[in-house]
Amino acid sequence: VSDAPAAHAAATAGRRQFLVGVTVIGTAVGAALVFGVPLAERRGAQRAVPQPPATPSPFTPNAFVRIAADDTITIILGKAEMGQGIYTSLPMIVAEELAVDPHRMRVEFAPVDRAYYSPLFPMQFTGGSSSVRASFDELRAAGALARTMLVAAAARRWQIPVERLRAESGCVTDGARRLRYGELVADAALSARPRELALKSPENFTLLGKKLQRLDGPLKVSGRAQFGIDVRQPQMLFAMVARPAAFGTRVQSFDAAAARAVPGVVEVKQIPSGVAVLATNSWAAKRGREALHARFGEAPADAVSSDLLRLEYRRLAATPGEVAREVGDAARALGEAKHVLTAEYEVPYLAHACMEPLNCTVHARADRCDIWVGSQFQSEDRRRAAAILGLHPEQVALHTTFLGGGFGRRGNPQSDFVVEAVQLAKGLGRPVQVLWTREDDMRGGWYRPFFLSRLQGGLDAHGMPLAWRHTIVGQSVLSGTVFESAMKKTFDPTSVEGAADMPYAIPHLKVEIHEPVNAVPVQFWRSVGHSHTGFVVNGFLDELAAAGRKDPVALRRMLLADRPRHLGVLNLAAEKAGWGTAAPGGRARGIALQESFGSVVAQVAEVTVSGDAIQVHRVVCAVDCGAVINPDHVAAQIEGGVVFGLSAALHGNITLSRGRVEQSNFNDYPVLRMNEMPQVETYLVASDAPMGGVGEIAVPCIAPAVCNAIYAATGKRVRRLPVTASLMSSGSRASS
């Protein structure tokens, strides 16, 4: 059911997307080569080929492709697979140019090496919805380079010009004869590196733009995919760590003897984060940890409580902050407006709650360290591990496994769960796997920050928005990280993304930001700042529409008149959802639109409300993400983003009392389940925009689309998430 609209869109739109979109990209790659930049040296790729030859006479034209004499073609991925599909979409890009069936390729996760650093930022990092768009040029060129050198080898073998040869299905042929790539690898390795690469013309693409079944599917329906938690090494111990119950406190006492008395427990070791119990299996480690009866110090006087934090943030929101954006004179325009609305919006701390609880396996020796981990941030993890052990980074081998969900949590800029495991493994002399329980993971911090927003909107005599003031209060996720250089002056651009750069043509705009500091660790959470600004901006715009007696879609059309890309998405969503017609079964509709990660998404949610019970029946998504590699992957990410965002909108709520997290597991931090799943439809806009991100873009719209639908159904305005907490409290404040 789900793929039908996407597949239809792909069939009708995919061709045009590539005719337009990829021609531009192809030109860019070609241009670089015409100007004589040798490909292999472009980012040191050739020098950095990391693996010694595994099979006889392998051909390794660059860091991403290895072809062996037995015809095995291996693609080496610098990105982590956490569900978003790069294990399939990145090999597809190589395979298109190399003229091979992607299902016959082997895929490996790369070691840490500069060759695999992102073209966008000098690190090995998977995030920012950047994998496909950032890798497209280099992987396409990697495939073309390998193909060109193989064809050149065949031309020498047969003593005929390369123009008479073509590559197809893993062979080079002149129409009569064929040579398998494996038969050519020894010669291809001797081929001169071409100064120019002829890239395949997009109208000849046979793979890109079409559905391809996931290459990791067979591993994942048979239990064979190896996640970090599945790593097993000889002599490996399993460890659990007793960590402080409240942020900002330390371990005071523990009973090591009682823990050691538990059968299977081998050792008890204090480390900076707490007290570790090491055992021969996970259960013994858990029982040993219980036997420790670790006690922790009193929470400091300034320990965070959610209720007090709200009051502090509310005070701050009424004071001037750092100005993130200023257009016109919002204060004066509000004074002149015919009608002024004021509202306060709030979103809670949120846990990522990946299905695979955090874990990391480390074997540290005097001159070498191996780390097995599902990580989104391998280069930083390795750098920090080496520093702890007094090794050079090259002495640390980080083996990336599949990730049982990431959502940002496994790309921790402080490498918290890797650092802890390395500290425990140091001097241990045998491998150890640190496993977090669900409760450890849920209470361990690194949340999406709690944000409070204060908004003022002014309407003119025609009910059109004249002025918009938005003051945001919340912790920075970039502060103190290697990404800090991305910060502009004194504020974190991710805190205001989607608000400071909102697309609506409102003549007077001012966005300010306060970034208080406290002991609760915060981090990127799928869609980062857009996860709160999407809710706030779309919600308050709906309020202005209602106050100005305008239809929410009609108002957006007027405010987006100069933004054809946004208009295209808005109109497609409205059309497919039947906006303006009566919804079936007494459902009410709400709309939201957000530009994020280079893509634009609009969603229409159909909702019924019965008492406090909210049922989301249908979500129509229109997406402009530029050229598309695999339309079914896009649809899957949109479906997944809706579920992730809906879990947060309806249920997600991490609260603190005196520094202690009050939630612990899926009983008190509920997430969406099968019985709550709406029908999600995805429609792709035919687009000539540059390739945008996909993994995070469906998250920001779902909360406001649902809340705007709740308003349409009930007249109740939801200004605090999760919805359930909001409808049952009087905490939503607004006046006009």
Partner: protein, 159 residues
């Protein structure tokens, strides 16, 4: 202590109260069954005990002694089981971590109810959490697996 895992009789040295999940994962090396919550809240550890779906994280080894335990590894090494085929055909998986449990729950559902309705699927699958949000495809794949498992209709002459 002995039990029958995927058709093979196995002996383990463990306390009878040790959860079956850790017996499978840490003692027998069958890591396809996943740890998710430890409280029977998420379904990632779903296996079959004498054909019935259970949460291995809260099932003590003692409850499985002498009985038949089936895990994802025993389903079909060649991925010929209709549920696996349907999962592949509809590209259900994303991160894949919860999918062993999802598949074992779906297999148990279809064994009892070869043609489940949407309500049947909700009831049988609501105990299995997927954070990637593959529910829509799981629902479609269960229906597809029901088709694949149905006896082939009699061959018709070409029209």
């Amino acid at each position: 202590l002995s039990l029958i895992v995927n058709g093979n009789s196995v002996q383990v040295e463990a306390a009878p109260e040790m959860p079956l999940l850790w017996v499978l994962r840490d003692l027998l090396g069958l890591t396809g069954t996943k740890f998710g919550c430890g409280m029977a809240l998420c379904g990632a550890c779903t296996v079959h005990l004498d054909g019935q779906p259970i949460r291995a994280c809260v099932t003590p080894l003692s409850a499985a002694l002498g009985r038949r335990v089936d895990t994802i590894e025993g389903l079909s090494a060649e991925m010929r089981h209709p549920v696996q085929r349907a999962w592949l055909e509809l590209d259900v998986v994303q991160c894949g971590y919860c999918q062993s449990g999802q598949i074992m729950s779906a297999v148990a559902l279809l064994a009892q109810n070869p043609h489940p309705s949407d309500e049947d699927i909700d009831a049988a699958m609501a105990g299995n959490i997927c954070r990637c949000g593959t529910y829509q495809r799981i629902r479609a794949a269960i229906k597809r697996a029901a088709e694949l498992a149905a006896p082939a209709p009699p061959a018709e002459s070409p029209s």
